[in-house]
Symmetry: C2
Subunit: 350 residues, 2 copies
């Protein structure tokens, strides 16, 4: 009965360091679960692709009080939560049929899942040449976060100098493209780790400049790359990168605070030397999530799909990694290590 069991990864430890699946205290443990019988309104879904988001790190351990988390942490002993794209194998919902592709934002690291139809969205076929995996990247959480965060939350304008951290990352690579190609911003500067990523941000994504935060001359390089200072900083990272950009913000500048990947696997507090710039330059910092701006999503997705179909933005920036269920956590852990460029997607193979 192939459809009655599924291997799945269980959260077994709330590490505050880099997660692992080996050693005396593995973060995740593989087990085989009996799938519950389908109820009315439910779907049995075969997972095809996992979305490897750095942000799900906060479901394991996080400095935020658990009771105050926007989404509660994953309980110890429960399957690890993850976004995924899957194919409907069986439907007890009138809204879906077998063979439909669906996005489950709160799926889990499993081969098959039983979900409520209300908790998934249909992902309709895309124009020719575009892959369904873009629903996890350019047309999914990262692309929408980039578009809505930059244009609506940060209110970026064509006359602005825009800086983007983790510019080679899943969200950052879309922010750079939205800023350069859809907004037409005067100057777009990426920040990324290492010369190879920086070259990609410049040459492939189209940033006017990209600064290597690992360079000993980061501070000077950032200053040279932002001669007119910085109107908008789209920050995915926090930490020393944020600290460096604070010292380059223009008066009345805006920091869109999207994430702080520098803190996710660290017990150290974030150390900021340049906090006083917030007062001195009268900056506004805005934490945001795409969930609060769902009214902007249809328009943003349409704009992104249209731009991609016309070749104005590059959406082949997903790194699709084929992996058996046994390797699923490790592909995601690579994202935390900063191994990838662009969006990381796991293609689940047998």
């Amino acid at each position: 009965m192939a459809n009655t069991t599924s291997k799945q990864w269980i959260l077994s430890d709330r590490t505050t360091s880099l997660p692992t699946i080996s050693g005396p205290k593995p973060t995740f443990t593989l087990s085989t679960a009996e799938l519950p019988p389908l109820q009315e309104g439910q779907l049995l879904v075969q997972v095809r692709y996992f979305s490897n988001d750095a942000g799900i790190r906060t479901f394991i351990s996080c400095t935020v009080d658990q009771e105050r988390m926007y989404v509660p942490p994953v309980p110890i002993g429960a399957p690890m939560r993850a976004g995924l794209l899957g194919e409907v194998l069986e439907s007890k919902s009138p809204d879906f049929k077998s063979g439909d592709f669906v996005f489950a934002g709160s799926g889990s690291w499993a081969e098959k899942i039983v979900v409520n139809a209300a908790d998934v969205q249909l992902t309709p076929p895309l124009p020719s040449g575009l892959s369904m995996t873009h629903y996890l990247g350019a047309f999914g959480g990262t692309g929408l976060t980039a578009h809505v965060g930059l244009l609506h939350v940060a209110q970026a304008k064509p006359e602005h100098t825009i800086v983007v951290s983790a510019a080679a990352g899943a969200t950052g690579s879309m922010v750079v493209q939205v800023a350069v190609k859809l907004l037409g911003a005067k100057r777009v500067v990426g920040i990324a780790g290492g010369p190879e990523k920086c070259a990609w941000v410049r040459d492939y994504l189209g940033a006017h400049a990209c600064v290597d935060y690992k360079s000993p001359t980061f501070k000077e390089d950032l200053k040279a790359a932002t001669p007119d200072e910085v109107d908008i900083f789209f920050d995915n990272v926090g930490g020393p990168v944020l600290d460096g950009v604070l010292a380059r913000m223009k008066r009345y500048g805006v920091v869109a605070v999207c994430g702080s990947v520098a803190t996710y696997s660290s017990d150290e507090p974030m150390a900021l030397r340049n906090w006083f710039e917030i007062v001195s330059q009268r900056l506004t910092l805005k934490g945001f999530f795409i969930f609060d701006h769902m009214d902007k999503v249809p328009e943003a997705r349409e704009a992104l799909i249209k731009a991609a179909a016309e070749g104005r933005i590059k959406v082949d920036i997903e790194q699709v990694v084929p992996a058996k269920i046994e390797e699923v956590p490790n592909v995601w852990i690579d994202v935390l290590k900063g191994v990838n460029k662009g969006k990381s997607v796991t293609k689940l193979i047998a």
Copy 2:
């Protein structure tokens, strides 16, 4: 010729620690200057009161690039800049006459100063029972910053829980009173150092609660004092106090960032464990200065003077310290040490 010379304090070292007037590297050095002859449009002013503002610490040394400072730093060898209230001794301006009281925001630590009439404001007589020194406190920079910052920048509403750091300080003591007595906020919680200051914030200023940040149970005490979390945080301090309040902010809460006195005399970076709350709770942080909101000042000052004249707010929260010119820096240094409650004013005596 008593009116041709003046003792004045010269900035002699950019210390990043607590300033001092003794030891091998004094921050300030007393000297006697020849006063220049009065030009057309200038005034000779006898200083009566100095405003002891923590913020002028940033004119000595500051993490912000000097070229990016909102007001440039004081040059080494120049008189230390300070706000003051003085009496016109001689006027070559049609707008002022001998005997007028004026406020000079960019005065200096001297007995007498020669200023351009355009750089000072007349401080008209106040209703009976109110002291001219209030032009340096409740009706001056600190009171106006409190009123405009809380009601206009942070957009505080009566239904809000409002937390104020340095609540026994010059600005904080006015924020507490504006929140409780003018706005009528649901819950106003001060944060101050030590049980005596906390008792004063509660019993004299009228806060619903005050939490001692020096207590080992600060975190738990703050949680207990904010059962409905925090809508608005008016922060004068930064550092561990800010870090603690970030973990109590309500979703979509606002932090009005007025200052960061915790960093002014420290070489250490600000260490924040709870930065991710900005994303998790979708907070907005707004750095601000009263200078950007001068259009709100006349209305704010009128409201404060009216409330004080009617006895609705307490303005006798100035600590007026009589001091000879030789002691002027030390009275100000006490503010940095957190010795005072309310606004510190130096009354210059012969």
